[in-house]
Amino acid sequence: MESMPMEVQHHHTAPTSFIRKYVFSVDHKVIGKQYYFLAIFSVFVGMVLSWLVRIHLVWPNIHIWGLGVLSPTGAPGGVMSPDYYLSLLTVHGTLMVFFVLTTAPQAGFGNYALPIQIGAEDMAFPVLNMLSFWVTFLALCALVATLFVKDGPPISGWTAYPPLSAVGSDAGPGLGMGQNLWAVSIALFCVGSLLGALNFIVTTVDLRCKGMTLMRMPLTCWAWLITAILSLLSFAVLFAACVLLFLDRNAGTSFFLPAGLLVNGKLQNHSGGSPLLWQHLFWFFGHPEVYIAIVPGFGVISHVLSVFSRKPVLGYKVIVGCLLSIGFLSFTVWGHHMFLSGMSPYSGFLFSIPTLIITIPATIVSLLWLGTVYGGRLRFTTSMMFGLGFISVFVTGGLGGMFLAQPSLDIFLHGTYFVVGHFHMVMGVAAIFGMFAGTYFWFPKMFGRMLNEKLGKVHFWITFVGVYCIFMPMHFIGLEGMPRRYSSFVNDAMQPLMPVHTFMTIAALTTGAAQFIFFFNLFWSMYKGAKAPDNPWESTTLEWTVPSPPPFDNFGGKHPVVSYDAYEYGVTRNGKDYIMQTDPPGQPASS
């Protein structure tokens, strides 16, 4: 599979058949859009699922139309059972983490913009690129299929902790076929990500055009490169873990299963394994994964803030250094997900220190963004708004991380809504804001039309206020001791906190509804939006030197030569305040 010889391609001639052009295309721009729409589909399903679980939390006996048809056992008559709550939560988490946060910022925007930004015609291995997408697509199919199999999706969460995830259907609903499909889906996803990652690295290293030194690359390219390295090194571990999980479930091995395990009154015929082993392997991948989700956002935000502040990025080299050190440190901190797992207490100390250290580069980057914006002539486009919003939600979420990094505090907070609020804010919302900023920024290039800015602003403000209303209260009820993963809190000591839950659910429904403004804007503008000029944002990087949308081979047979850094803003040349990267050196900029 991976070892198949790469096809020798001559892609100077654009394909003409529909299938080769839009379905099995090797063009990085088409593949980028395919990934993007895959993520849009996933985020839509994931969002609907989050509505369902939020509604169930607050109104556990409500009849939800259609749910009874989808799962007659999980939601008889449309009333969700506690098990089915966990099933839907699993699909929500898996979809969002893997198929949204990992695909859209990296494989979606990266595929679309990386080759153009570095002046290449395509990725280094176009056929492999196509293969990555279709493997990822199969992975998505396997995951969505869990919703339709007899026992529904697994109840084991997106982390699929053994022993329950490894013993089969004895352990509860969805742990038969559903969990098998989950393991297959994630293993396939690993393969797709690996192939994509090595493609990104080779492309960035080898295919830069004349003059595009590493230090002239836009920060987006740096972010995609570093993310690709993280993917290459970490998905390999998750792949191994998924294979072992699959064997435990289907071949009778006991990698993750200890002896004497009594599940639902049945003694399991396993011995010799350790559930901690899965947690180690999973989080060895899982923590770099957090940065795989957020680092492309760092790149996009640095880029967007500079463009719309009309100022060079403050501390370009420092940002590159910080991204590299974040990438490095991300492999040293995975144990902070396991403070409560019963692992060696010495390891807890060992993992706490780098976790606190990793906040330093993240803080430096955040300060440099503020410095980039400070004193600039700001243009408040929707993309810029989401860029500024990113800094806000990232810092807010990140502050919670400082508490959780310390084992003594984490012991109390780990099982509470504090963690839910923290990771949704810092990883989910921040990364999604990065995607929105990227969408509003690159949409004109991708589709040749402008998104509606008025709708964009409305979308931004509702979303921005909305996410704070959803996730900030979670921190506080977490501090009060509200445990996570429970399907409802009826007649419970937690009852006094229920109004907060009601508030968050209403906020989630409202914020979710606001996303329909975005979806409408996206699809309406694709066909009816104003025609986009080549360089609507007066940006300097290479993708803005070509028509919107770019021709099949990106530069129409021409070969760009780069003479300037990526962020030459705030200058005065021929009545413009920026210098394109491709402007001829030492001369007044061409008009």
Binding site: M6, V205, L232
Partner: protein, 217 residues
């Protein structure tokens, strides 16, 4: 390789595309992109293997007892397998050299010889598996206690066997393609990297799985 005028001409063999016209930057590592791609794949695959081997180490270290059932015959068999795999690697080196000198039939011959080594390895290995299965070794049980022994054995050697088998098919595809002059010397070299890597992994599996479980006389 026939291209030998300055570092930029390395791009001439790059992916079979006409990059010299594209001009662009040089290849910073002075290796064709395909080769860099294969190296990166190898790094990643090495981590997958390591994770499985570490899982085995984790469980064996934690186990109160671990069987050491391999009779001398098994160890001899595994040593012969090591010999076959190492020799096939030498054949692969010769195939790469012949291909870079443009000796098509020589390269194809050595490639087939390498693949043959892989086939012999697989046959010896499957024979070994069948022998153990006949003795009652399963992923979930074995005659000597500690059920995880069978699980670890079949998982690690099975993963390696899959790699060898993929490698044999891969090498034969390359042999046919190179013989018909559809593929370049770079393609042969890249397949060589994969094959040597499979060999390299066995250098760890042989001592860890077999030697550490050899039955003492």
């Amino acid at each position: 390789m026939s291209h030998s005028s300055g570092p930029l001409s390395a791009t001439a063999v790059h992916d079979g595309r006409d990059l010299p016209v594209w001009g662009g930057g040089a290849l910073p590592y002075a290796v064709p992109s395909k080769k860099l791609g294969m190296w990166l794949f190898i790094v990643s695959d090495a981590i997958t293997f390591s994770a499985v081997i570490f899982a085995y180490g984790y469980l064996r270290l934690a186990a109160p007892a671990w069987p050491r059932p391999f009779e001398t015959a098994s160890i001899v068999n595994a040593t012969v397998m090591t010999f076959v795999l190492l020799s096939s690697s030498v054949a692969m080196v010769l195939a790469v050299r012949a291909s870079s000198l443009g000796k098509v039939s020589g390269a194809v011959g050595w490639l087939v010889a390498t693949a043959l080594g892989g086939v012999i390895f697989d046959i010896l290995h499957i024979r070994e598996w069948l022998g153990l299965i006949a003795e009652g070794v399963r992923p979930f049980s074995n005659p000597w206690g500690t059920p995880m022994f069978g699980a670890a054995f079949f998982t690690m050697t099975g993963l390696h066997m899959i790699h060898v088998t993929i490698g044999v098919v891969y090498l034969l595809i390359i042999a046919v393609g190179f013989g018909r002059r559809k593929l370049s010397a770079v393609d042969v070299e890249v397949s060589g990297l994969y094959w040597h890597f499979v060999d390299l992994v066995w250098m760890f599996i042989f001592p860890l799985v077999y030697l550490l479980s050899a039955k003492m006389a």
